[in-house]
């Protein structure tokens, strides 16, 4: 599955001092004309039920087929219930949208990993776990968190529905080359601090718009030391600083992760692919339009207090004072604090919460579930908190059950649900009620994101789990002092 442009890459004149992003981009340019965006070839197009129906309609109106259906992969994730998935979807509009996807995929010859399929799951979880997402590739999906796939050293864009139709019709995307930014993180992370804290920290430092117009390459020894799943968490949230995409150069960790997966290349094809992937890095003399550098030691467990992902603080810090912002920003800032029911200089530590959501394309992979299970084993959630653990895919769910994590979760009052996007955006029944606080491992704390008037504190899986146990916003490091966590 997918298209590996090895021969084409080798035939091109290699320029000096190229970034990883430019190497992959150049290997996929079909046509480049002055004054026009480039026509970029897309290796795999992921689609889901929410942003595809109007695109299929567009094809029908034009009388066009899907140009490369074998390079298109579909799943149902946004609308699906996370309980009793074997029953028909109760909510009529959701059911209709999922049914439409099934009909459209059948009509246009697209492989669908729908409800009940062993490969079903959140689109950004299944692509990597099936070996469809690979180093050096180009991936798009009508979903902004497509940036996740960049963790493999790939170019991956979220696109709108008109572009979904465009890629269906042509297997290409018309796109201007973004600027390049490098974000380095070096040093050793504190105990209890993970990939989610790194990315929330970066966004808090550069704001929800700080990456707009850029393709961001993450580098440095802290990033290098992360597992593939940690790297996916980082790249996933690139869009939350406005970046067009995020990527990390492939290395042994990447290659070992891809090897042997369902659709990964096999045999001779694997050897060729793996050799090519080892050429994918930014040259030492590559020039970036912007370079930022952070120290791992400066990163605390993070939590957001506001209504965009840039509004984050270390969990021991206080909510900033309104007066610390420029006059013209103060109105928007006050609006955010009012919505969250918070005030200037408030400490979030110890603030009672109502819900904990562990899931989403940011943090629903097996390592996330293992980390949470290891921590909650032998503990129980606080009475005032409802906890939802939603695996990212059917495969993650099955793996968790094989490892007995479901039993640990059950004993802790953290029922393991079935895969889907769930309370990240509340398109299914999993909504946070108005006014309630949720510590969430998802990616957005926008007003109403988890349900009308819901209030979201974004955090890592460990911070979410610790907060579920105490019933309030908690510094995971407090537990570490008691020696309860070994990792």
């Amino acid at each position: 599955m997918g298209f590996i442009p090895i021969a084409i890459v080798n035939n091109r004149n290699k320029k000096m001092g190229q970034t990883l992003f430019d190497k992959i981009w150049d290997a996929h340019v079909v046509s480049s004309n002055e004054g026009f965006p480039d026509i970029l070839y897309i290796d795999t197009h992921f689609i889901h039920e929410v942003t595809s129906p109007q695109a299929f309609d567009g094809l029908r109106t034009r009388g066009l087929p899907v140009f490369r259906p074998q390079q298109t992969v579909a799943t149902a994730d946004h609308n699906v219930p996370t309980w009793d998935q074997h029953l028909p979807i109760k909510e009529e509009l959701s059911r209709y949208q999922v049914d439409m996807l099934t009909k459209n995929c059948a009509e246009f010859g697209i492989e669908l990993y729908g409800l009940g399929h062993p490969f079903q799951g959140i689109v950004h979880v299944i692509g990597p776990e099936l070996g469809i997402t690979r180093p050096g590739g180009t991936y798009v999906c009508g979903d902004s968190h497509t940036s996740t796939h960049g963790a493999f050293g790939a170019i991956a864009f979220g696109i709108g529905t008109s572009q979904v139709e465009q890629v269906m019709a042509t297997q290409c995307l018309l796109q201007s080359r973004p600027k390049r930014m490098k974000i380095e993180v070096n040093g050793k992370l504190q105990k209890g601090v993970g990939a989610k804290d790194i990315i929330l920290y970066i966004i808090s430092q550069i704001s929800a718009a700080g990456g707009t117009g850029y393709a961001v390459e993450y580098a440095g020894d802290t990033i290098r030391a992360l597992s593939m799943e940690g790297r996916m968490t980082i790249c996933n949230m690139s869009i939350e600083m406005g970046a067009r995409c995020g990527l990390i150069a492939p290395d042994e960790t990447t290659i070992n992760y891809v090897k042997g997966r369902e659709f990964a290349p096999k045999g001779e094809e694997w050897d060729k692919a793996a050799a090519y992937w080892q050429t994918l890095y930014s040259d030492e003399d590559a020039e970036f339009d912007s370079v930022l550098s952070f120290k791992a030691e400066d990163i605390e467990p993070m939590i957001t207090y506001g209504t965009n992902p840039g509004m984050g603080i270390g969990v021991t810090q206080h909510v900033p004072e309104t007066a610390s912002f420029e006059q013209k920003e103060q109105g928007s800032y006050k609006k955010a604090l009012d919505y969250m029911g918070l005030h200037d200089d408030e400490s979030l530590l110890g603030k009672p919460i109502d819900y904990v959501f562990i899931g989403s394309c940011t943090n629903s992979r097996i390592e996330d579930l293992r980390e949470v299970a290891q921590f909650v084993k032998g503990k129980h959630k606080a009475d005032n908190v409802i906890v939802w653990v939603v695996p990212g895919s059917k495969q993650v769910q099955e793996q968790a059950i094989r490892e007995g994590l479901d039993k640990i979760f059950d004993a802790a009052g953290f029922p393991l649900r079935e895969p889907g996007c769930s309370a990240c955006l509340g398109m299914n029944e999993d909504k946070i009620p108005a006014g309630k606080y949720c510590v969430s491992t998802s990616n957005r704390n926008f007003e109403g994101r988890q349900g009308p008037n819901s209030r979201t504190f974004l955090a890592s899986p460990l911070t979410a789990a610790a907060s579920a146990i105490t019933g309030k916003v908690t510094d995971i490091r407090e537990f570490l002092k008691e020696g309860e966590l070994v990792s």
Binding site: F3, P5, I6, A7, I8, V30, S31, G35, F36, P37, I39, Y41, V50, T51, Q54, D57, R62, F67, H78, L93, Y96, Q97, G142, D143, S144, G158, I159, G160, T161, S162, Q163, Q166, A169, T170, C172, L174, S176, P178, A208, A209, T212, I239, G242, N308, G310, K328, E329, G331, S332, K335, L425, G426, M427, R444, F446, E447, G448, R449, P452, N453
Partner: protein, 195 residues
Amino acid sequence: MSTKIFKHIQTSVVPLPIENIDTDQIIPARFLKATTRDGFGNNLFRDWRFDNDGNPKQDFVLNNPTYSGKILVAGKNFGCGSSREHAAWALADYGFDAVVSSFFADIFKGNALNNGLLPVQVSDDFLKKLFEVIDADPHAVIEIDLVDQFIKIVKTGEQESFEVNPYKKACMTNGYDDIDYILSKKELVEEFETP
């Protein structure tokens, strides 16, 4: 397939001086279940515009009869967050032809341009001036010219030029569409696929 043509408008405007307006505010996720492009305008800014019972919130600008027009003027980083094109559909369906801000999120900007909704990026100073002018006179008329790439406060004559990708400008002023363009290069795509 042709799309809506945009060349020039002159109209009163609707001010929304809030920063970081994300696409979840423009159209909340629970309204993304439609399978056509129509009707999203009814739920534009749904949770700012209506209370939980569906009654209009009087303090929201779209419910204030003083303000009307085909241009929305908003705070910086407009359209951040989700890639949902439904946000652009909702703004266009409601009746907006252009959005003015000092900064746009990338995906929203692309989606808007693909739907005949012009994103006009102005300087911080010009945006501040626009809000002051609208504050002083809610019926102030603004002119946007895509052909010559300027935005003007008609009463005072103050104006600023704005950038737009020349290809997207040609698409919007002629009603061209990206798919037509790529299909015209289809042989290059097939050539690319051949190792």
